[in-house]
């Protein structure tokens, strides 16, 4: 399975440029907190955390990485809810975020029970995907979903939150070949096909990168 995520930019690690003119102090501080300050859970119960972890692993699978190398996602969802940091809006009919996440995790178990007779954490990966697909399509079995928009939760809350956290991590930046922070140096080669010497290259170049 890890073959499918074979890096397009082998050997590229955006963090190698930590001391380059592309990383200023405020940016280093923000990213340092992201790498080192992974918050301990404060909001969810251990059981909720296990359900959430299982769902997040299907939204953004990382089978190619050991525990040390994985991008942490669930701790940041927990922190967002513990601090109740909002997004600026919610769709009418949806509850405020804390209630939404709690209810939705109950809903995941209800749907898994209805389809497979077991809790979400106790079913196989393919079955978890099926549960999530039913949420996405909007009419999953489960009492909670009668009054909670499962499609809205799945897309606008679950998927949107997970990708926002994952693609904020330097590991994801390196994976996608994103050149990352750029202050104060900026960019020079911005034309089509243009790659600055300090940006990731897909093949060896004659430039020595900083």
């Amino acid at each position: 399975m890890s073959e499918e995520f074979r890096p397009r930019y082998p050997g590229y690690d955006v963090l190698d440029r930590w001391n380059s003119p592309d990383w200023d102090d405020p940016t280093r501080e923000v990213v340092r907190r992201r790498l080192e300050g992974i918050p301990a859970p404060r909001f969810f119960t251990p059981a909720e955390l296990a359900t959430l972890e299982a769902a997040v692993e299907r939204i953004l699978p990382q089978p190619d990485r050991g525990p040390e190398a994985r991008v942490p996602i669930v701790p940041w969802i927990d922190a967002k809810l513990a601090e109740d940091f909002r997004d600026g809006f919610r769709y009418e009919g949806m509850p405020a975020q804390r209630e939404l996440w709690r209810s939705a995790l109950v809903g995941l178990d209800q749907t898994a029970q209805a389809l497979y007779g077991r809790q979400f954490t106790a079913i196989e990966d393919e079955d978890r995907d099926e549960v999530l697909r039913q949420l996405e399509q909007g009419h999953p079995p489960g009492e909670i979903w009668a009054s909670l928009g499962s499609g809205r939760f799945f897309r606008d809350t679950l998927c949107a939150t997970v990708v926002r956290i994952y693609y904020a991590h330097p590991t994801a930046w390196s994976e996608t070949g994103y050149s990352g922070p750029s202050s104060p140096r900026g960019h020079i080669r911005k034309w089509i096909g243009g790659v600055d010497p300090w940006e990731p290259h897909e093949r060896p170049t004659r430039w020595k990168t900083e």
């Binding site: 397009r8 200023d24 923000v30 953004l60 693609y167 911005k190």
Partner: protein, 554 residues
């Protein structure tokens, strides 16, 4: 008004961040009855505040968010920039409920100009005469503006000079105009694809006018093309209100009071406003800034919300709302985007991708198209988290499919529109049943597209796809999106049909003014900031004239 300037040093007892990491002295006006108390420090409030202070009026600007120091507070990081947005809860409702709280909001000194895309476009003469030109469109409340292009033209020029807009030698659309103050920026890869696609199809295209320096100006350097324009500019090349008008306002004696959230505008028994009530971090209890005039400049959600929440026995439906139009005809722009995959490396987030190149070829009513009004096509360049969000929301990608698609991040190039949205009465800002932490009811934002817009969006997606394909792009897909918040306190000549007059002055309350995007009677199909700033500049000039004639109290 022009009281003798005997400013003791002690009166400049406050310190405000300057733009290079130091601090500058600022006047403390908290104990005064000022000429103007302005709520909001963005494109409307910041611009107006500077011009009024320079004209000799005493000014306090209240801003809910912090006073940013560009050298410490802005980072090269998407997630680290969420503090630039208005993230307090709002309810989004209607048939096409909009996303709020990110690109279309701002919090902190400079407002959303701190993270806007800097596209500095003028509206066109026809944009101000929609009702005359299109007649009565069922379901829409089209009105002509009480201002014409000629009224705003000198102020467009003034703001372009103030911001040192960088643009092409000859801009192909709109009335004849002076050259832009600074030369155009080089195009990035995404902008080049727009140019190649348009040229192959015979569609006129040009470098966009951008409010970012291409050459040094004063104490600010030219752009180094970091590509993080939408997350705050660390080098001060971007001509946000934070680094242009705010320093001018402070130098001229205005106080810019950050972290001060206005919750109500008070009035006396005669119905004249007297003070703004606000809460301030670090200060206990409710604060009051007394003023002879109040300007509300909180953008198209917060401005109607504050007026509605200032209801009293004298104004039972909200301040300045005898017409019933406060909060009504709220508009956005359709901001739909199309992305295509290219064989060559694009690096979509590099350089100032917002803007870059532009075509206003479709910014007009096109007979036979099935819809009225039009749209501008611009270049977009989301960073990875934002791009992944589009993949999951629009293409419904998740799981391994999403991670694999993101490996192609550097090979996608995108276009987006600013599409005109018609004013509809049921699109509105109102107070919800739920309150925020300050006990103020939160805003309920109701939005549904008009049939006209649905057709406009389909047309635009078709054209953007055609352009990207002509440039060599493949596998294109569209992402639905809106941008900008407009209307809700529209200007008009008729008191029964609008909230404020052409000067932004409330029909009902003559010492209350509105100065932001909520004034727009129709939405235009251009990025709104330059028009908001031109209106603010014109307002400042009109206020000077009215003060000289003693038609307003200062």
């Amino acid at each position: 008004m022009r009281r003798p300037r005997q400013l003791a040093e002690a009166e400049w007892s406050l310190r405000a961040p300057d733009i290079h990491g130091d601090a500058v002295p600022m006047r403390d006006r908290s104990g005064e009855v000022v000429d103007f108390c302005i709520v909001g420090s963005g494109a409307g409030g910041g611009t107006l505040g500077a011009k009024l202070a320079e004209a000799g009026f005493s000014v306090v600007i209240l801003e809910a968010g912090p006073h940013w120091d560009p050298t410490r507070d802005f980072v090269s990081d998407e997630a680290g920039s969420s503090r630039l947005y208005w993230t307090e809860e709002r309810i989004s409702a209607g048939d096409d409920p909009i996303e709020l709280g990110a690109n279309n909001s701002g919090r902190g000194v400079g407002g959303s100009t701190v993270h806007y895309s800097m596209v500095a476009m003028r509206a066109h003469p026809d944009d101000f005469r929609r009702r005359t030109l299109e007649g009565n469109v069922p379901g829409a409340e089209l009105r002509d503006w009480p201002l014409s292009y000629r009224d705003l033209e000198p102020y467009y020029e003034e703001v372009e000079e103030d911001l040192q807009v960088a643009g092409p030698t000859r801009y192909p659309w709109g009335p004849r105009r002076r050259r832009y103050p600074q030369r155009e920026h080089d195009l990035n890869a995404c902008a080049k694809q727009l140019v190649y696609g348009c040229e192959r199809l015979g569609i006129p295209v040009a470098p966009a006018p951008i409010a970012t320096l291409s050459a040094p100006h004063g104490d600010r350097p030219p752009c180094v093309y970091r590509g993080f324009c939408n997350y705050g500019c660390t080098t001060n090349a971007k001509s946000s209100v934070l680094v242009t008008y705010i320093p001018r306002a402070i130098r001229a004696g205005a106080e810019v009071r950050a972290n001060a959230t206005a919750i109500q505008v008070e009035h006396d028994a005669e119905g004249r406003v007297t003070a703004v009530v606000y809460l301030r971090a670090g200060q206990h209890g409710v604060q009051r800034q007394r003023a002879r005039n109040v300007v509300v400049a909180g953008y198209a959600v917060e401005t109607p919300r504050l007026l509605l929440h200032s209801a009293s026995s004298l104004f039972p439906h909200g301040l300045a709302n005898s017409s019933g139009w406060v909060g009504r005809c709220f508009m956005v722009h359709s901001g739909d985007q199309v992305f295509a995959h290219f064989k060559d490396r694009i690096n979509q987030s590099k350089a100032p991708p917002p803007g870059g190149a532009i075509t206003e070829h479709f910014n007009r009513s096109m007979p036979g198209s099935g819809f009225i009004c039009g749209y501008t096509i611009e270049v977009v360049g989301p960073h990875p988290a934002d791009f992944a969000r589009r993949l999951t929301l629009s293409r419904r990608l998740w799981g391994a499919a999403l991670r694999k698609e993101m490996l192609e991040y550097n090979y996608w190039s995108g276009l987006g529109i600013v599409g005109e949205v018609l004013p509809q009465r049921h699109n509105r800002i109102e107070l919800a049943d739920e309150s925020d932490g300050n006990g103020v009811p939160i805003a309920r934002v109701v939005f549904s597209y008009h049939e006209n817009e649905k057709r406009l969006i389909q047309h635009a997606i078709g054209e953007m796809t055609r352009i990207l394909q002509a440039a060599g792009g493949e596998a294109s897909w569209a992402a639905g999106r809106t941008a900008h918040l407009l209307g809700g306190c529209r200007m008009g000549a008729e008191p029964g049909d609008s909230v404020v007059d052409a000067d932004g002055r409330a029909h009902d309350v003559r010492n209350l003014w509105v100065c932001d995007g909520s004034l727009f009677p129709t939405s235009l199909a251009v990025n709104p900031s330059l028009t908001i700033q031109a209106i603010a500049s014109r307002m400042a000039a009109r206020i000077r004239t009215l003060a000289e004639r003693r038609e307003i109290q200062v």
